[in-house]
């Protein structure tokens, strides 16, 4: 019966194959994108001057959480997490756990999309209706979704160096406004608070779990391990650098007020008459990375859905899912609702969906003695 169940999911969706660099680019961009919008300001409200090292605690926690996901994948070589949930926990519980992941991967791109829209509307297109900005953006998301995961991965590998250079250049150029005293008091609102939010904030790095959904597109479990850890470490460094730059530029009492801190940092760059007003550079980075992040997360949601309901072709699901995402994104009536609702929910409780189901599945697999077939290289 179990063997039958294990075999049923095979070859459901052909997502193509791609290498480590593509996967690292995909995951890193997806994680780092969040730092462009309102999340840094929310973090400052919680921990004050310590956001830059709090996020390293989050990354370390996420690496530990990812270890459980890796152990689970190692136990079931060649299987993705949806299939593993079903094998270890049975159809019903597995379905519920997969459903939780699906819900998170639908809510998450909707949140980024709305954050993107709000920030774009505040800083760049004040007269354009949100639905217009989202609508245009979703065309790109649908296109990438239909072209498939492999295209997304190769596209992200292509743009990753450009984004990295622009991102780092922005932070270096902004250094003219950095002041060290803004890091003090060094413990912010207290070390306990920093550690607490560091642990719960690991949700931001939980997107490495995506690797468990697309496991069949990668080159085996060992590669997944490498990709997962490298992505988390790279994201941790980039996010920490961005938060450090933000903290060095804006003191804690100002930082919590700013809608898009990184955008604001680039508007302050002024090296005389010829090098100033570099915000278009930042808009370029934020547009491209948001496109990749939203496209990937929506694709993952569609992929989970197809695997849950044994749908062979993912393409027809992309457009309906885009419409659902669009609708979810339109629900918050304002930025404050989005912050206290969606963003807060994902930041504070996302880890429960990313890590707890895989841990339960791992325990269940051990207790029930379930194991996959040995992977042949």
């Amino acid at each position: 019966m179990d063997k039958k169940r294990q075999g049923r999911g095979k070859e459901l969706i052909k997502e193509g194959k791609f290498g480590s660099q593509e996967a690292i680019s995909l995951i890193t961009i997806t994680i780092v994108t969040r730092v462009f919008f309102i999340s840094p300001s929310i973090l400052v409200r919680y921990v004050g001057t310590t956001t830059w090292y709090m996020t390293l605690i989050s990354a370390a926690t996420a690496a530990v959480g990812f270890s459980f996901v890796y152990l689970l994948l190692k136990r079931f070589p060649g299987k993705n997490i949806i299939e593993i949930f079903e094998i270890t926990l049975g159809r019903f519980l597995g379905f519920i756990f997969s459903g939780l992941l699906l819900a998170l991967f639908l809510l998450s791109p909707a949140t980024i999309l709305r954050e993107f829209t709000e920030v774009t509307k505040v800083y760049v297109f004040p007269l354009s209706p949100p639905s217009y900005i989202m609508g245009l953006f979703i065309i790109g998301v649908i296109l990438l979704g239909i072209l498939g995961l492999e295209t997304q991965a190769r596209f992200s590998r292509l743009v990753a160096p450009i984004l990295l250079v622009a991102f780092v250049a922005g932070l270096i150029l902004a250094s003219q406004n950095y002041e060290l005293h803004r890091l003090t008091p060094i413990l912010g609102y207290g070390i306990k608070r920093t550690i607490h939010h560091g642990l719960t904030g690991s949700s931001g790095y939980g997107y490495a779990v995506i690797l468990a959904v697309i496991a069949s597109s990668l080159q085996g479990t060992k590669h997944i391990k490498k990709i997962g850890y490298i992505s988390i470490v790279a994201s941790g460094i980039l996010v920490s650098a961005a938060l450090l730059a933000f903290t060095l530029t804006f003191p804690y009492y100002i930082a919590e007020e700013v809608t898009s801190p990184l955008y604001q940092i680039t508007t302050l760059i002024d090296y005389g008459r010829f090098i100033q007003r570099l915000d278009p550079l930042f808009i370029f980075v934020w547009n491209l990375s948001t496109l990749i992040a939203v496209s990937l997360e929506l694709y993952i949601a569609a992929s989970i859905y197809c695997r849950m309901f044994r749908i062979q072709n993912i393409k027809p699901v992309i457009i309906p899912f885009s419409i659902i995402m669009f609708t979810i994104a339109l629900i918050p009536k304002d930025l404050e609702t989005l912050m206290s609702g969606y963003v807060n929910l994902i930041m504070e409780y996302g880890w429960t969906v990313f890590y707890i189901p895989p841990i339960i599945a791992l325990i269940a697999a051990k207790l029930r003695g379930k194991k996959g077939e040995v992977e042949h290289a």
Partner: protein
């Protein structure tokens, strides 16, 4: 076939949507504001003045026009309106203009002294929130009215006012007579737990302080930087003058610093770059020795807190060149050089002590000592509870100045003047 239709459809949709973007604006549909002025209104709470470019060709001096009852300014007229708020004011001005005002290139935010003394937070808050206004614009407190200041703010050299304004605020690099205050640092300052804000002091110089005739001064009167903005004894040139510093406690202006005091402030802040100073000749007090002074090392500030009282130690290291010796005494000589160095050190130190006392009386840590003091605290709660801005008035500040003469310019020795009666 399906693929072709889909691609065509996408291209058509994208092309139509992009061309009709809601926020598209043609360059000739907008007017760029160069400066914003805020005064207390008469008909309403706020008197808003905007100075903008008319986009007409030719130089400002060759054209003369007035706009909507505003100030005369050639290519750069001003419009003033009494309005309940900044935003309403913009709308009111826009209603009388064929083009929409755009603040993306605004360089000055000018606040009247009266308004600054009453508190600026209610007026700054909407401006900082406005997406078109960049936080890199400079904040000036105008002695008198901001409206008058902007009416007189015209290009004197060259035809481009925006360039004039950009170059003018670069002044502190060479002189140190006014601080470099952007909207970002000013806004940060009014909310800061580390320091108090400062702004550039501006004024309109009507040459009232310049006396054409009168008794001629025979000896060194006073340091050149003792004036406030608008008071310099000069005639000719631009009427607008940036000179000195407006000192704030929170959002209220509580005092002013002269040009000289501003240089000392910048030295203590570590922002002073270079400037010419004039000191009395130590041996012949009626003569002067001008010096070209610059910072040699970044100012070191050390703060200790004992029994709740802050003890501050500031180490300032300067170096400079001799520019002239009126008395012709050979101060270039290695035995006499220390005399000049000591004299300058003592002058700077005594003036700095007086400046610190003045700011302590005004309860305003404009020196940013708090940025060092905050290292003594581990959490924000402890730091905020200590309340640095309150504690500053109790601080004991010790300043040590060292000055070294590096060069003597193109002359290595001062020889005496020889007349028929011999040398003098």
């Amino acid at each position: 076939m399906r693929k072709t239709i889909s691609i065509t459809l996408i291209i058509v949709i994208l092309v139509t949507m992009f061309t009709g973007c809601y926020d598209s604006t043609e360059i000739d549909e907008i007017t760029y504001v160069l400066a914003v002025g805020l005064d207390k209104g008469v008909k309403d709470k706020l008197r808003l003045t905007v100075e903008f470019h008319t986009m007409k060709g030719g130089s400002s001096s060759s054209m003369s026009s007035s706009s909507g009852g505003g100030g005369m300014g050639g290519n750069y007229p001003t419009i003033t309106v009494d309005a309940p708020s900044f935003y309403t004011g913009i709308n009111m001005i826009n209603s009388s203009l064929p083009r929409r005002l755009n603040f993306m290139h605004a360089k000055y935010l000018v606040i009247s002294e009266e308004m600054a003394k009453a508190g600026v937070s209610t007026y700054i808050a909407p401006i900082i929130r406005y997406r078109e206004i960049r936080r890199s614009m400079h904040v000036i407190v105008a002695k008198g009215s901001a409206c008058k200041f902007l009416e007189e703010n015209q290009s004197f050299i060259g035809s481009t006012l925006s360039k004039t304004m950009e170059l003018q605020v670069k002044g502190p690099t060479d002189t140190g007579y006014f601080p470099h205050t952007t909207l970002n640092t000013f806004y940060d300052g009014i909310k800061s737990t580390y320091r108090q804000p400062i702004a550039i002091l501006g004024g309109v110089n009507s040459s009232n302080n310049y006396q054409e005739d009168g008794e001629k001064a025979s000896a060194f009167q006073s340091p050149e930087g003792q004036y406030y903005a608008g008071e310099m004894p000069r005639k000719g040139g631009s009427k607008v003058e940036l000179y000195g510093t407006a000192v704030f406690d929170g959002d209220k202006m509580v005092g002013e610093l002269t040009g000289d005091e501003t240089r000392l402030l910048l030295m203590l802040m570590g922002d002073f770059e270079r400037g010419f100073f004039t000191i009395k000749d130590p041996k012949v007090p009626q003569d002067v020795v001008p010096l070209n002074v610059r910072t040699s090392r970044k100012t070191k500030i050390h703060v200790d807190i004992k029994n709740g009282k802050p003890y501050i130690n500031a180490e300032i290291e300067l170096e400079g060149d001799i520019l002239a010796i009126q008395s012709m005494i050979n101060y270039e000589d290695i035995s006499l050089k220390p005399l000049l160095e000591k004299a300058f050190e003592q002058q700077v130190k005594s003036e700095m002590d007086a400046l610190i006392d003045k700011c302590k009386k005004e309860k305003s840590d404009v020196f940013r000592f708090g940025t060092v003091a905050s290292r003594k605290f581990l959490t924000i709660q402890d730091w905020e509870q200590y309340n640095w801005n309150k504690q500053f008035e109790n601080a004991e500040v010790t300043v040590n100045v060292t000055f070294t003469i590096r060069r003597t310019g193109t002359l290595m020795k001062s020889s005496p003047v020889i007349g028929s009666e011999g040398s003098k």
